[in-house]
Amino acid sequence: MIKRLSLASRLALLFAACTAVVSLIAGVLFNRASEAHFIELDQQQLDSKLIALRSTLQGVDSREALAQREAQLRAELSRQPDLTLRITAAGQRWLDDAPSIDLPAAPGLHSLQNADTDYRVYNAPLRADQPDSPQLTLMLDITHHQHFLQRMQHLIWLTIGLSALATALLGAWAARSGLRPLRRMGEVAASVSAHSLTQRLPQQHMPVELAELAQAFNAMLGRLDDAFQRLSAFSADIAHELRTPLSNLLTQTQVILTQPRPLEDYREALHSNLEELQWMAQLVNDMLYLAKADHGLLMPKREPLALADEVDALLEFFTLLAEDRQISLVREGTAHTTGDRGMLRRALSNLLDNALRFTPQSGQVRVRMEDGVRLSVENTGDGIPTELLPRLFDRFYRADPARHEGSSEHAGLGLAITQSIVRAHGGRIYCESGAGWTRFVIELPAGD
């Protein structure tokens, strides 16, 4: 039930409860204090009365002696109509103005209630120095005090109720205006859609408590925006990559068919079509491979591999290409890991292919490895600007956009595929570059 309440009403209720508790405590303390004060006042009054009575009854030690002083005593008593007196000696009542109720016998001050009347009862011996002298019992009617206290109590309850209500209302208003930044946040969140991922919360105007949340929210929007941009760029890229070969195919086939031609021309056209088609098939296969990787369906076998042997086999394969351009291929170090031979060969082959493509004539490609496992492929040649490094693994990204038209090479998916394979093996790949060198580093978990 509490969970469903809005934050503002929850805060308002809490405010009200706090006020009620605070005013309740204050009220109880005040009530106690005034009661104690009244008792003190009564005590003083009774004390002074006792002194007057004692002096009036000086020397009285028998009923007869009292009777002689009765007129004097009455005069003294009549000064205070709310006070009544009882004098008891040895179990006999010498004088009794008090209402006929049982009174406490112990000396000292007592409170007593009878019907609608409240009394303060004070017992004291007639002679202060003789506790067994006749007993004076003074009864003070304090009904008006009690009435006052009762009124006070009512007033306190009323105050508690009213102030709780007032704080609830004020609290609701305060909470509502205090929570305004939160509502604004909600509005921004609600207005975010695929088309407006660029919207951000104004962080600097946020209260401290919300700034962190706003920051997290903005960061989330940033990541979403980035992923979304990549995704839509990816779709656009696919369409673009397919458009070139498709338009070649369409144009060429239509042109060839417009008039009769020598057989050789048809053959030539078909060959040209074949090249485009092979390129497209390659693209589709690569994309399917990446899609499989995205869905976590790349499941590498786990066989122990001596990476040096794999690299040597690959270098032997690539030697043919390297020798053509007087590029030297070097391997340094050894390493062992557990993984899928075919997949890792493919990953490394993409790196070597890439490295060879960007190495100038007479340059060098160096494969270094160490257990742990760290493997790097480094080539000489122009470095890659730092700001481009993170984008190298994006699909269809080409450092040199002018390259490729219908050739048999991968459509900028090679490094993305390599990254997918490395990740499927639980490793990571990154690229570093400096003046005159570029290095791709693969880090894999160590072999079992």
Binding site: A281, Q282, K292, L321
Partner: protein, 226 residues
């Protein structure tokens, strides 16, 4: 050699049939699973080429029926789906090979020939020969027209492959896989370079060229009459 193709895409089926027929195979084509299964069980075929998704009975079911009837015909699957489970499933049921669409026809042809060859007994050869080119497997020597030709180890393996499968167009991917054990679509021109070097040693000094490029498909070793 008699082949059965079960493929429901008319265009694919037609061209497969034409291509295989022109490669010298007797082929039959059906477009639905039920008649495919019937023919597979009753006809006397040397190889089945099955599409996985078929009307009637799918490729897996046909394969199961064939294997439970005790027939040991090689079966090659064609599929547009490339999920690992599919591959495993097919191999568990007893499929012999598996090609994912889109594939190159030369690749299909090479696989078909491999499967058909598997059954037959290959006599232990000591030498391979075409025209005046001779490759001695035991002494690992190559001669042409009586002249010794020095080849590197890989060049020797490449020539051996071409000689063993002379007359067949070998796609680049098959060459990369058989000679260098690179079993993935390699996007490099390495095979081209390798063939060029082999030609330099084997063909360049002789008027009768034996290594030929089939554009867009691969390479073939054969004697062509000019």
């Amino acid at each position: 050699m008699k082949l059965l193709i079960v493929e429901d895409q008319p265009k694919t089926g037609h061209y497969l049939r034409q291509g295989l027929a022109e490669a010298g195979f007797t082929t039959e084509l059906v477009a639905d699973g039920s008649s495919g299964q019937h023919l597979a069980l009753t006809g006397d075929y040397d190889l089945l080429i099955l599409d996985v998704m078929l009307p009637g009975r799918d490729g897996w079911q046909i394969l199961q029926a064939v294997r439970s009837a005790g027939l040991d015909i090689p079966v090659l699957f064609l599929t547009a789906r490339d999920a690992v489970e599919d591959r495993v499933h097919g191999l568990e049921l007893g499929a012999d090979d598996y090609l994912v669409k889109p594939f190159a026809f030369s690749e299909l042809l090479a696989r078909v020939r491999s499967l058909l060859r598997r059954g037959g007994s290959t006599p232990q050869e000591t030498a391979l020969q075409l025209a005046d080119l001779r490759l001695d497997l035991i002494r690992r020597r190559v001669e042409r027209d009586g002249q010794r030709i020095d080849l590197t180890a890989k060049e020797f393996s490449l020539l051996e492959l071409l000689l063993r499968r002379q007359g067949e167009v070998l796609p680049k991917s098959l060459i990369a896989s058989q000679v260098w054990d690179m079993n993935f679509d390699s996007d490099t021109n390495i095979i081209e370079v390798a063939i060029r070097r082999l030609r330099l040693k084997v063909d360049d000094n002789f008027p009768n060229k034996l290594i030929h490029t089939v554009r867009g498909m691969g390479y073939v070793l054969e004697e062509r009459v000019n």
